[in-house]
């Protein structure tokens, strides 16, 4: 009732159109993503006769999850987090320690094997708790100071996992991590030895297609959750804080609790992703969670378009493809290109020349750097920026112009 009344009072046709348009673009992107997600394994397995591309996609998947989670912190609430990999590490280690033989050689002397489906939520809670513990004393800090605290946290956590080697194996990493197993009651044509089988023996057994299905489901759940959060009272509070913290506090928003929730919820997604990561690579070492991971995820969020969920997903997929697929594939392509155009002589190493493949590989850093700088210079707002914000800004600019024109006429 009250909603209808406000809509009637404020609802101009123009505003209605704007909302329709926003919904349309996102729906379109989601539609395309769903279709691609369904067709991808079929097409690539048919075309390349192998699952290499599908396992690439499973790895891209946890980066998508991480980007969605970081977007809550950076894009929605406007808190810069430079240590996001720490929460990812906490999630991954929670799973790795509780689902592997690791604890047998630790002072506990008992290996723990809990099923993935429970540990997924344990990891989630562990990461969220770490987020809250870090956030509680530090969220009073403003702007970049918070970024620096998270940076410090991100440096400490992997080092702690490295140092407590009695428990975590330190540099030797935690290996032999359990694979998820489907519970017996979800038996169907997809399990066993039937023609539609993609999960054998109810266990994933490193089958990329099974992991692909799992990560697509996880991402879908995450997207629905985050979309609902975005539209909720909490989501609006986050955006109010992002735009102007003082004004938001004056409107009665408890800024500390709201920021803490952004931190905790953002961290919980990386805990989720961490459990999945531990299961899918089956080996968790402190080296996998260094500063570079936090930066990569941040780059995905910013390049995709902060605050916009579809933009962030696209950003994560694009950056994953560039960093982990295109750039590592460059040496091979350069060699075959050189051979094809008759420059085969530059391929082998001789003297100071390390060989074309090696030389191209050494260019990786430079290429990555140029891509980052170039993309930011060309499109600082990201690939798919949040349409609401874009329109708000444009609308404000137009209104300002109109008042100026009116004043000019009046005088």
């Amino acid at each position: 009732m009250s909603q209808a009344a406000t809509a009637g009072r404020r609802g101009s046709p123009r505003r209605f159109n704007l909302r329709e348009r926003i919904r349309d673009r996102d729906t379109a992107v989601y539609g395309v993503l769903i279709i691609v997600a369904i067709l991808f394994p079929m097409v690539t397995i048919y075309a390349t006769d192998g699952t290499a591309l599908v396992s690439h996609a499973t790895r891209a998947g946890y980066f998508v999850l991480l980007a969605i989670g970081l977007n809550v912190v950076v894009g929605f609430a406007g808190l810069l987090d430079l240590g996001y990999a720490a929460f990812f590490a906490i999630g991954a280690y929670s799973y790795a320690l509780l689902a592997s033989p690791q604890l047998e050689s630790s002072p506990a002397h008992h290996a723990v094997h809990i099923t993935f489906w429970i540990l997924m939520f344990v990891s989630l809670l562990a990461a969220a708790a770490a987020g809250a513990v870090l956030g509680f004393p530090t969220l009073r800090l403003r702007g970049d100071y918070l970024a620096i605290v998270t940076l410090g946290f991100g440096e400490i956590v992997p080092q702690l996992f490295y140092n407590f080697d009695q428990w975590t194996g330190g540099i030797n990493a935690v290996g032999l991590i359990d694979q998820p197993r489907l519970p017996v009651w979800v038996q169907g044509p997809w399990s066993g030895d039937g023609p539609f089988t993609f999960v054998r023996d109810f266990s994933f057994n490193g089958d990329p297609v099974a992991y692909y299905v799992l990560i697509v489901i996880l991402i879908a759940v995450a997207v629905i959750l985050v979309n609902n959060l975005y539209r909720s009272r909490l989501g609006r509070a986050w955006m109010a804080i992002r735009e102007d913290e003082v004004a938001a506090a004056a409107m009665g928003i408890n800024t500390v609790t709201t920021k803490l929730l952004a931190f905790g919820i953002g961290a919980s997604f990386s805990g989720f992703a961490g459990a999945y990561y531990g299961a899918s690579v089956s080996l968790v070492s402190p080296d996998s969670f260094l500063f570079i991971v936090s930066i990569t995820v941040l780059v995905m969020v910013v390049l995709g378009g902060m605050g916009n969920i579809t933009g962030v997903i696209i950003g994560a997929l694009v950056m994953y493809t560039v960093i982990f697929y295109l750039i590592p594939g460059l040496p091979e392509n350069a060699v075959s290109l050189a051979n094809n155009v008759g420059l085969g002589g530059i391929v082998p190493a001789s003297g100071d020349w390390p060989g074309l493949a090696e030389e191209t590989q050494r260019l990786n850093f430079i290429i990555y750097g140029i891509i980052l700088v170039g993309m930011m210079l060309l499109r600082p707002q990201g690939i798919l920026p949040s349409r609401v914000r874009e329109q708000e800004l444009k609308h404000a600019a137009v209104q300002e112009e109109e008042t100026v024109v009116e004043q000019a006429h009046a005088s």
């Binding site: 403003r142 620096i148 410090g152 902060m306 850093f365 140029i370």
Partner: protein, 347 residues
Amino acid sequence: MVGSGASVLKRFRSSQLGGMSLPDYGFYILCATAIVLLATQAVLHPSDFAQILVFGVTQGAIYALVALGYTMVYGIIELINFAHGDVFTLGAYIGTAILGFFSLTEGSFTTINLIALLLVFPLVMLIMGGINVAIERVAYRPLRNAPRLAPLITAIGMSFLLEGIMFLWKGPATVHFPDILPQASTTVAGVFFGFKDVFVVVVAAILVTLLALFINRTRLGKAMRATAQDRDAAQLMGIDINRTIAATFFIGALLAGAGGMIWGLYYNTIYYQLGFRSGLIAFTAAVFGGIGNIPGAAIGGLVIGLTAAFSDSYIGSKWTQVVIFGILIGVLVFRPTGLLGMRVPEK
């Protein structure tokens, strides 16, 4: 240590309710605990302690030079310049390359060594200054009015780019930096002083003093201070903002280039990712001293250098990183403006 931390936290929370400035109190208690612990060591093993002190001061002097660049850039455009650590490393790389043109005698000190040093040291500083101004022009200036995270990402991109250039140039292995300083050393009361230690500290002290004079006594220094305080107001007063910011990057890189040279001369080993870790540590030093505060960065560098040295010896080197970044978090929680920082109004 843990017990005092918990009680400090409790006090800190009650301070929020009471509205008193007890977080400062917590900061002093933490500092005092650290000083008491170190003083115990100093009394028990004076010569070991003094030796670590010498090493810490030397290390800290280098961190201070790098931290100054971070703090100046942050003070003026509020950007965490991730590329700065790599500018520092690139300084060392260019230094080795230019030193390669001289017929140097390693391990002893000849006239040629001295001439080479006197020529190359300022030259590397100037080259790095030029490179940093170019970086600012390409990667940061076009984004001055863009969303705040955009220049941060280009800074990271520039960092990768510089690392990539060094990687391409010399490959992934460590690179030897010519050992051309005098090997003279002396032992005072069981404490070893090398010429190198003295050299590092003296050069760093001279550079920091020059910087302080420049900032406080010259017109351009005044323009920098004004721009850092309020960019728009400074512009209205007729200050050329772009030129001032470029000058800040130039001076920051002069110090980073000097830091790179000193690092090379002292440790004689460099590698392309050196700037990443030491850059983060230098940045911690800048925050510790109060980011944007120039004497703060110098003191922060010294404190972090000492902390690293003490933690390496007394706690174990694998904990040093945890200690340094733990201190960073502690400082920010209890005293967000750093050791010497002023309360900066939120813009």
